[in-house]
């Protein structure tokens, strides 16, 4: 990206990194879909700090979180602890953000990332007063069973 960040370029980078990460880490393909966002029970959050701070959010239902973390660890969904599920979603968000940051930083821009945070709560929402623009895409796993919401919020 040259000069000020480019919204479209940023979306492309994050989308590619997200689908690549889930492919390598979960062994499944995530496909963009037009369906409404599933309930968000767990959100992984990081903030990309630089010229334009950006909140990065991956939100999933608790069922999807269990399924995804099971795929990432090989542990059966029924045997996963809540702590490991939260940690898994946080780490997934962390990896996607870290990879994207490395690509963005390959150019002159210099961004830093906060450590990941987790928000838990059945059907929670995240509202930013100063929100200016953003990008939100829902995905479904290729078997059609589980959804994931990916969001970039420019604050």
């Amino acid at each position: 990206m040259s000069g000020r960040f480019d919204l479209n370029a940023l979306q492309t980078i994050f989308s590619e990194v997200l689908t690549n990460t889930t492919q390598v880490f979960m062994g499944i393909e995530l496909l963009p879909c037009a369906a409404p966002a599933p309930d968000a029970d767990i959100s992984g959050l990081l903030i990309l700090i630089g010229e334009q701070p950006i909140v990065i959010r991956i939100a999933v239902s608790s069922a999807a979180a269990g399924h995804f973390v099971s795929l990432m660890t090989g542990i059966a969904e029924t045997e996963l602890s809540e702590a490991l599920v939260s940690d898994g979603i946080a780490e997934l968000t962390n990896i996607v953000s870290g990879r994207a940051k490395a690509i963005i930083n390959a150019d002159s821009a210099r961004y830093r990332l906060t450590p990941p945070a987790i928000i838990e709560g059945n059907s929670h929402r995240l509202l930013f007063k100063s929100r200016t623009a953003g990008f939100c895409q829902n995905y479904r796993s290729s078997d059609g069973r589980f959804g994931l919401t990916f969001e970039l919020i420019y604050v």
């Binding site: 990460t21 390598v24 660890t73 490991l84 780490e91 962390n94 990896i95 870290g98 990879r99 450590p115």
Partner: protein, 128 residues
């Protein structure tokens, strides 16, 4: 049984869990630390047990690079390879890790096959 162990240093319990599976397949035990400081304590208490350190960079309390500096300051650890396992992939981070004595760099996300391959390349594979 005096089995050799892999020390997984990562603040993510999930990453440590993934590494534990790879270690088991290859016939290694696992020691776990959630940050650099915990890892240093383990390294001091179990001299001779550690065959390989798999090290995250960004961790609370003590980062991977700080751990590496302290770990390499002890000559007893000279022969223990360290592989960085991180999303941190800017050249500055990679070079800092190499200069501090890391032998390999595994980018997250990694496939389980890639993790197993790297471990075998660094310390050998399962006894058949």
């Amino acid at each position: 049984m005096n089995e050799k162990k892999i020390l997984a240093v990562d603040d993510s319990a999930m990453i440590r869990k993934i590494i534990s599976g790879a270690a088991a397949v290859l016939g290694y035990g696992l020691l776990e630390a959630g940050n650099g400081q915990e890892a240093l304590v383990i390294a001091e208490r179990q001299p001779g047990a550690i065959a390989l350190v798999l090290l995250d960079i960004n961790m609370p309390v003590m980062s991977g690079l700080e751990f590496l500096r302290a770990f390499r300051a002890n000559p007893d650890n000279d022969t223990i390879p360290v592989a960085i396992v991180s999303t941190e992939s800017e050249s500055s981070s990679v070079f800092a890790a190499i200069k501090l004595g890391a032998q390999a760099y595994i980018l997250k996300p990694f496939s389980i096959e890639e993790m197993e391959r790297k471990i075998v390349e660094l310390i050998g594979g399962p006894e058949l």
